[in-house]
Each structure stands twice: as C-alpha cells, then as structure tokens.
C-alpha cells in the first residue's frame, strides 16, 4: 500500500503532531486531570496508526521500526518494575511512593505526587508501543479474492 490520496496525506501531515502532543499532554497531567497513562498511550498509538494508514507501512516503519518498538515496550515495562523495586528499597513497600514521602511537592502542581508521573510515563510508552506493534503484526498481509474462487494472500506493497 503506497498510501492514500494527496488530500489525506496533507491533512495527516498537519494533524499527526497535534494528536501526538495531545497524547503527551494526557500522560503528563494524568495525576491532576482526567487521563493517565492508558488513555495517553492509546492516543499516541493512534497517531502512529494514522501515519501508517495514510502514508503506507514503509514510511511509518522508518519513523519507528518494529525493533525499536519492541525495545521501547520492554524498557518501559522494566522502568515500571524499577520504580516498584525502588519503592521496596527506600520505603520498604513494593510500589511504595518513596518520593512523595521524602519530598512532598505542593499539591496541584505538575511536579508533585512522587512516583506517579514516572509510572504514568512508563505505562503510556508501554501501551503505545504495544498497540503499534500489534497493528504492525496484524497488517502485514491482506487477502484478496482470486479469479477461480480461491483466495490469495498478497503483500500490501504488491497490491498497488
């Protein structure tokens, strides 16, 4: 699939940045306003999926290859676990909020509530990378009906 028409491509070029920014906003203000890691991660994955649908798979994979997505996914999960283990080490409780106990920030500020923003960022990256990977896996091949009633599998690039 070489991508869609020039109208879709032009609109995508302008809109993708705002979708991405909105996802980041949802993630980093997750402890103050509605939102959080889950919602923001899904929105960021949406922006990459839009890119892939509009421009074709090669372009999107050039921005974020599947290997890099694998690494992001695993390292975000690891970051989440490291936060949990640091809580065990410093506060004595698995997932203990040691930063809030030591340096209690002012409430309703962006830099407050200890480990919660860090966990939010980790969860957001993990969900985004996971959904992007799943979409890559699901969209490798497509079935088209053949002439004699049988169905053929074709790669997306050859379809154009």
């Amino acid at each position: 699939m070489k991508g869609m028409t020039v109208i879709v491509k032009t609109v995508t070029r302008w809109v993708k940045v705002f979708i991405f920014l909105y996802g980041i906003y949802i993630i980093i203000t997750g402890h103050l306003a509605p939102g959080g890691g889950f919602a923001g991660g899904v929105i960021i994955a949406c922006s990459y999926i839009l890119l892939m649908l509009a421009y074709g798979r090669e372009f999107a994979l050039k921005q974020l290859s599947s290997r890099a997505a694998h690494r992001l996914d695993s390292s975000a999960a690891l970051l989440f676990l490291v936060v949990a283990l640091l809580g065990l080490g410093y506060g004595g409780i698995f997932f203990g909020n040691f930063l809030q106990a030591r340096y209690p920030g002012a409430a309703f500020k962006l830099l407050s509530s200890g480990t919660i923003p860090i966990s939010n960022i980790a969860i957001g990256i993990k969900v985004a990378a996971s959904l992007f990977l799943i979409f890559i896996i699901l969209s490798v091949l497509r079935i088209v009906p053949g002439e004699d009633g049988t169905n053929k599998m074709v790669q997306d690039e050859e379809e154009e």
Binding site: A33, P34, G36, F38, V42, F108, V127, S130, L131, I134, I137, L138, L141, I143, T150, N151, M153
Partner: protein
C-alpha cells in the same frame, strides 16, 4: 431497572457467543459482554448527584468525601478496558490465522476440516 438493562446487554453478548457460527461474530459477542460488565461495575459505584473523583484547588475535602462517586470501580474498569483490548486483539489474530489456513470464518467448516 437500570441494572436489568445492563444485564440484558450482557445476555445479548452471551447469546451471540453461543449461537453464531461466524468467528468474527463470536469475538463481537465477547466485546459486548465485556462492555456490559464494565458498565455494571461503574453503575454500582455511582452516587446520586455525585461529583467526579478529581479534586480541585477550591474543593472542600469533607464535602468531597460526602459527594464523590466511588473511585475504586473506576480504577479497576480502566485496567479492564485495556486488558479487553489486548484479549480482543489476540482473538482477532487467531481469526486471521484460521482464515488464512481454512479460507472461511465458519467454525463448523473448520471443525469438519480438522485432522
């Protein structure tokens, strides 16, 4: 009354899973069941004329305690929605693989072709 309507949603999903022969329809039934359960959990935690469990600078803590809806089911349902997405995706991947192998979505056909 509202609980019963929510349960009807669940029953529709169950009916779809039990009677349909199309694999994609079965996955759709699973998704509808999941929606019914999520909505029921949130309905149980609702307080009449409540406020969302998000504090503000002007919020009075005691009044917030007396009027906020239950935050615990909401937190669990957030997790449940994302897990449902993962499970549904896995089911869709299985459907695609079976279609690739047998060329049909009909589960009775697939059962006949076994072996």
């Amino acid at each position: 009354m509202i609980y019963s309507l929510c349960f009807i949603l669940f029953i529709i999903g169950l009916y779809c899973v039990l009677t349909k022969k199309n694999m994609v329809k079965i996955v759709i039934g699973l998704v509808i069941m999941e929606y019914g359960v999520n909505l029921f959990l949130v309905l149980v935690g609702y307080r009449r004329d409540g406020v969302a469990p998000i504090m503000d600078k002007t919020t009075d803590p005691l009044e917030f305690l007396a009027t906020s809806v239950d935050p615990l089911p909401q937190a669990l349902v957030v997790t449940s929605i994302v897990i449902g997405l993962g499970v549904t995706t896995l089911a869709i991947a299985l459907c695609i693989k079976l279609y690739e192998k047998y060329g049909t979505f009909d589960i009775s056909e697939i059962r006949r072709l076994k072996g």
